[in-house]
Symmetry: C2
Subunit: 301 residues, 2 copies
Amino acid sequence: MEPRIKAAIIGYGNIGKFALEAIKASPDFELGGIVRSARPNPKNETKHLGVPIVKDIRELKDIKVALLTLPTLLVPQAADEILAMGINTVDSYDIHGELADYKKKIDHTARKNNTVGVISAGWDPGTDSIIRCMFEFMAPQGITYTNFGPGMSMGHSVAARAIPGIKDALAITMPQGAGIHRRVVYIEIEEGYDFAKTAAELKADPYFSSDDTTVIQVDDINNLIDMGHGVSMERKGVSGLTHNQLMSFTMRINNPAVTAQIMVAAARASLKQKPGVYTMIEIPIIDYMAGDRDTIIRKYV
Amino acid sequence: MEPRIKAAIIGYGNIGKFALEAIKASPDFELGGIVRSARPNPKNETKHLGVPIVKDIRELKDIKVALLTLPTLLVPQAADEILAMGINTVDSYDIHGELADYKKKIDHTARKNNTVGVISAGWDPGTDSIIRCMFEFMAPQGITYTNFGPGMSMGHSVAARAIPGIKDALAITMPQGAGIHRRVVYIEIEEGYDFAKTAAELKADPYFSSDDTTVIQVDDINNLIDMGHGVSMERKGVSGLTHNQLMSFTMRINNPAVTAQIMVAAARASLKQKPGVYTMIEIPIIDYMAGDRDTIIRKYV
């Protein structure tokens, strides 16, 4: 039996909590500790978890890989710093248009410090990216539609909360088919603000202006929260000269739970790669799996 | 622009014909020629294809990779011989229980001759194997059901034809859910044989005895042939401690067309691997794709 992989969790919010569960449920991992910011969210209590809670990863010993369960915008700097300390990183950086440049920026740090970073390891980007590529090489001509939801969009909820007069918000992504989505945004209004004016401001925000958006006023957002999410990917394409090749992939999942589990798989894979930074499509699928290679081939191929 | 990858097709049956189409439709490939046996099936005419038709791959020049579109039982020997000639191979060897040992047997030849073999590159084993692994690392506890069909089973059709008194046969795989299948076998009876006795013999054959099998007599099998097939893979599992994570993958495809297209993708990937023999789960997904790595990451991740 190999020694367990000692991992740290950086940030203890939604995904961090599920990362703790995923690490504890994985027989090849052990949790070395949790790194929290100077001003942790009081909602997320860590007192009784029975693991070291620290402010800096350097206070923990023998960490092989860090799961960066931070808000996306804080991820690049944290990855760069931790890769430079000789520790592998995994994140679920989710800005599709920027991840290729982010990868390039930290690649040098990883190579120089003999470490591995796996970026954008979640379900989209992440496992959906693997499926999109498979659809493409199985039927190279055609269209793939990625339809998200129904489910909470963290990014859109945060954007809605930033609008003056919105006390709390929950943005739901509703798939309309063919990769088109509409947004339904539930908001709590701060006293003294007008609903109609605030809703109009939200709809004009760049985060929402290109989508069909409905805004609904509620008294308490907390009653609406459900972490379920989903995706349906559809391809109709051509293999060789043969049309009408139909493929579809569907998921209905607890969003942070599957994200955290994928990050644990990516952490495992990080220890099998040469120094550098990788997206999930650049790593063989077998490397994400626990256990002996020959056994995996016999069982799953 | 890179030079095109020169490929040969070994065997010109069902999959060989679609391999020709897939190679011709791939902008990064060119077809160097087709290798046929001494006694080719007269149904599969090659005269007007406009490519060299030879009896031995050594008659073709500068072949980088050979697609072994042969009956599965002929694949291992052909792979070993061609890998020893310094040419990469791709096959869709489909005996699940034996592929790991087959891989080990030819691995030495590949390493010694600085070549790469990709084995069992079809849809199952093959792309389905990739999905099975993904389901597993996304929700490590749970059950994955792989339901095939409805569609023609080549293996069962061949087994039925081997039974005395059966002139021609078509075996259909019907999914019953939860990974359970029944077989419906259409047979043409040779003169002087009794249908009931022949059907009983078929049902007792080891190929059929463990499945619920229905045998139907017809006058002409050819009227029934349709190359469509399908699969539905379902997983309900646990990510971390979170139950009820639902995932499904479904395909409805022309079987030899998608198999041939996957073999072309594997041929492309073979040129990016170190010497040795690989199943599809051991190769990064990006290596199956045509084009520049950075562009692929920007477009599909």
